[in-house]
Symmetry: C2
Subunit: 219 residues, 2 copies
DNA sequence: GGGACGGTTCGGCGCGGGCCGAAGTGTTCC
DNA sequence: GGAACACTTCGGCCCGCGCCGAACCGTCCC
């Protein structure tokens, strides 16, 4: 008879307004930082931290710690489906946008910014191009000619670490972070090669960006 | 953004051990009385009453008041499916029996006892037969020759009301209750014509019962 | 090194709600 | 009418937990 207790346990995780708001935000399939979720739900950072720990321990969310950030996302499409089932039951009336489990995994693969650099399929494409050009090694260390290439692109070394490998959340492949990654992302955004879409961290490669990348030999 | 609050609300209903136990018991598709559920969950009758009110108001359960009893059942197969989804997520490990939404609506139509008389398809069949024999009118009032028939069957009038119409839960048709209905049910059980199956209120017409009913002209 | 910042831990506050027993209502039976 | 019984309502207890601010840790930038 104890299997309904497990049900009560997972229901308890979703029975709180704040945790439900977290899950609702994460239904877009992207990874959010703890602070973003705290702001989104209108709650203190300490409160959000505790909620996230509980949701992760309950198997609803997975985390991805990176530097001083704690990224968090739905544990998988099965969680999205569960949330959709419950939301569908709760209110077929007051549902502003239709939840589609497909949109979750689809959005997961979209291009996005990762703190201050590019990630997602876009970030992977950039990394591949830079490796192909010899700007960085396969381990994402900047080469001697790579530094020249970067400087021609407006990059100026600072005290910040030039390059860092950042494990891509959706692609499970490292992409370029660090000062060089941030610089490239900033330049792409300034030139309009990469445009933000929506209010979140999602981005897309604009037509101008496609041409620019082609001329640079990135793609 | 408010649609996740509805999710939190329905989750809150299921987040309690006792309410979850109620729903788990009701997953068999039958209607339970408030007391049965209270005993099942090991909780006071007053506590169970409050829980049931909340579950009904939340749309998870429907009630069926009858005399001094309050029957309660899942609001429909969609509730069973929701419970199954959540239970499947909660524990694919500790699940003693597989939950099948189909079993819910199937069991709802089975024969069963209703307090002290027959209900379900079996009760409807009995009522139709008695009407056909002229024992009772279509309104379930015992006729003059019907009383003779009942006395030949061992029925002895008492101070208890001879017959009452009881709205059948699954068939939406009245069936025979009262002293006559209780007497017939008791006799059928004593003769082995009707047998209890499982530990609940479900019953089935045994082969001997089929023959007996045929000889009596009930079916 | 110093400053900024994201995240975590901890103590404490206050509300919500699950529980019971007692008293009350309505129904059934004799 | 009286007794038994299913259920409900109410008052009160107490635990759980959601929340915050303050202090602290680790990372990043310069």
């Amino acid at each position: 008879m104890g299997f309904m207790e497990g049900l009560a346990q997972v229901a308890g995780l979703l029975a709180d307004r704040t945790r439900a708001a977290f899950c609702g935000a994460l239904l877009d399939g992207r990874a959010w930082t703890a602070r973003e979720l705290a702001v989104h739900a209108g709650v203190a950072a300490s409160t959000a931290s505790e909620h996230l720990t509980r949701l992760i321990e309950g198997g609803l969310l997975v985390e991805h710690r990176q530097g001083r950030h704690r990224y968090v996302a739905l544990a998988g499409p099965h969680v999205a489906e569960l949330l959709e089932s419950m939301a569908a039951f709760a209110g077929p009336d007051a549902r502003p946008r239709s939840l589609r489990a497909a949109s979750a995994s689809e959005a997961m693969a979209r291009g996005r910014t990762c703190y201050d650099h590019l990630a997602g399929q876009l970030g992977i494409a950039l990394r591949s191009g830079l490796v192909g050009l010899g700007v960085v090694t396969a381990e994402l260390a900047v080469t001697e000619p790579g530094m020249v290439w970067l400087k021609e692109f407006g990059f100026e070394p600072s005290q910040r670490q030039v390059s860092r490998a950042c494990l891509d959340w959706t692609e499970r492949v490292p992409h370029l972070a660090g000062a060089a990654g941030a610089h490239l992302c900033r330049v792409f955004l300034e030139r309009g090669w990469v445009r933000r879409i929506g209010s979140g961290r999602a981005v897309v490669l604009a037509p101008a960006g496609e041409q620019g990348w082609r001329e640079l030999g990135i793609v």
